[in-house]
Symmetry: C2
């Protein structure tokens, strides 16, 4: 089989990484249609040795497309996806636009790809990056010990805010190096609470996503999560300090055993040399890394763990690519 | 009254800041004796318009000293303080050497200066920086609602590791800017779990200090704390994401009221514009800042809050200076 693909937002960091993943895969691709915002229209991208012209988003261009990835923002997804809904093509949406819609599957292939067998929606949502990274580390623990409550604090990279925020981090850092006492370079050697909108409970959108998307993906509305989401001056991998309380009795040995068996999860820790996973090591890697898994000394029913993963890969492009792969492998098309 | 003072570690970041605080105070100082390691011996520091020669640490030089600040490392404190114990001078130790010794008061003046009235030890310890900052934010809440358990994640600045770590942050950042894909610049746009030694429970020394010192200062061995301590690429202010569970019923309104009345604590938040305290704003400030105080949606008995403060000031030099001030004001000398 060979497929016609399209990517909306093909010149962004996530779009580019998606193109790399497709380039490197064995999946046969007939046509690749690339869309981007006006400033990139007319430029060319080399994909599998052929030049591809970047177009502006238009419904006509979707005529024979089998799969489209929406890797732009949620406004673009909200505007165009409803218009494509009645087509036969699969729409893999990386934005937050439809993630909480109960008719649309929200998929991390390692966790809940089975949903695709029962829910035949042609729109499939890929989750929030921080949520994906957290759930990769804990979903198998939830299956075995049932998670009651999570207290999370995030250390989120600039890439989550796109190239714009990565550029701001570099720009502000250089400015701060030149003028060390300046208080105008928000992101230079500085960090700040996640910039997404706050709700009436004073939780940011990002923090609410971690709760609501986790409940949907784990198919468990009883799981409780409180998070403090923070942007740190790191370029492209997120870290999370997780405190996880279980309902059932567990042992740290068993937790290690389960994590070791978890697909695309790696334990990286060296207690002897006090070396653990860092966002720098996790960058450009496909795995989700867990580290320093400890019995919580404040609660016999809880553990602490440290998680890092590349935000652009498993946090976004790779997960969407895996959804695409799953649909093909499971012969859903 | 006029006093003879000495500072051990006078050329470090904390020692320098201590000299600034003394310079700006109204306290009369007869002599100021400055000690530092060999590489600084012979250099001069101007204090209150007079030149002061830096000496190498020697017991003879302590002859008429009324107060000495130990602002070097805990090895220096462990080596010299026992030899000075039987003198009449007050020894204010900023290192961790004696903090957990039950005969030695561990003081944050805003919280437990009353201990100085009953415990007549001439050695007084100033707490760990992160512990001080956390306790400044919560001690009055503990008094009113009794804290049961804290889950904390820290975002600690380089200054906690001294000038050496600050220089490493700047050096590694510049290297990373030149070579963005390098994985050799540990601290360039990167963060890592706190570098202090791990115990058999897999907790770092820094994490254990937050528990043990908090229990001692709050005089409550029942309070439970689990922490993940992380170094972030920030120069000199620490941040902490705190989840605090209370025994008694509380209201967010009452919590605000208590925090507003807390001495040297400032609430800095602007929900309308989504602006909260950052380490950059907290840097070079004497107050401890709290922000985004929320009812925890995962536990009706808990709140989440975000705390930032200057590590070099309230985290170290300022607290030691306040201990000195308290002893003078309370006529303990």
């Amino acid at each position: 089989m060979s497929y016609n693909l399209a990517i909306v937002g093909s010149t962004g960091i996530v779009g580019k990484e998606l193109i790399n993943l497709l380039e490197d895969s064995n999946i046969k691709i007939k046509n690749l249609t690339l869309f981007a915002s006006e400033k990139s229209v007319g430029k060319k991208i080399i994909f599998r040795k052929k030049s591809h012209l970047i177009q502006s988003l238009n419904l006509q261009a979707f005529k024979d497309v089998d799969f489209v990835f929406f890797a732009a923002n949620s406004e673009i997804s909200k505007k165009y996806i409803p218009k494509l809904k009645n087509s036969k093509m699969y729409i893999i949406d990386l934005s937050s636009a439809f993630r909480e819609n109960k008719d649309i599957p929200l998929i991390i292939p390692e966790i809940n790809s089975q949903v695709l067998n029962t829910n035949k929606s042609n729109i499939i949502a890929s989750p929030n990056c921080t949520t994906t990274i957290m759930l990769m580390a804990i979903h198998n623990l939830h299956k075995t010990f049932k998670i009651k409550r999570i207290v999370a604090a995030t250390y989120q990279a600039a890439s989550g805010g796109g190239k714009k925020l990565m550029d701001k981090l570099l720009f502000d850092t250089k400015n701060q190096l030149r003028n060390p006492k300046s208080q105008d370079n928000l992101y230079g050697f500085n960090l700040f609470l996640h910039e997404s909108k706050l709700n009436e409970l004073k939780y940011s959108e990002e923090e609410m996503k971690m709760l609501l998307e986790a409940q949907k993906i784990l198919d468990d509305r009883n799981i409780k999560i409180t998070t403090t989401c923070v942007r740190v001056p790191v370029l492209r991998a997120h870290s999370i300090a997780l405190n996880v309380e279980f309902e059932k009795t567990f042992s740290i040995e068993l937790i290690y055993k389960i994590l070791k068996k978890s697909k695309n999860v790696k334990i990286l820790e060296d207690f002897k040399n006090n070396k653990f996973i860092t966002p720098q090591i996790a960058s450009f890697q496909k795995d989700v890394f867990v580290s320093r898994i400890r019995q919580d000394i404040s609660n016999p029913k809880a553990i602490d763990m440290w998680v890092c993963a590349d935000q652009v890969l498993k946090g976004a492009s790779l997960n969407a690519f895996q959804i695409f792969e799953t649909i093909i492998k499971e012969h859903l098309i």
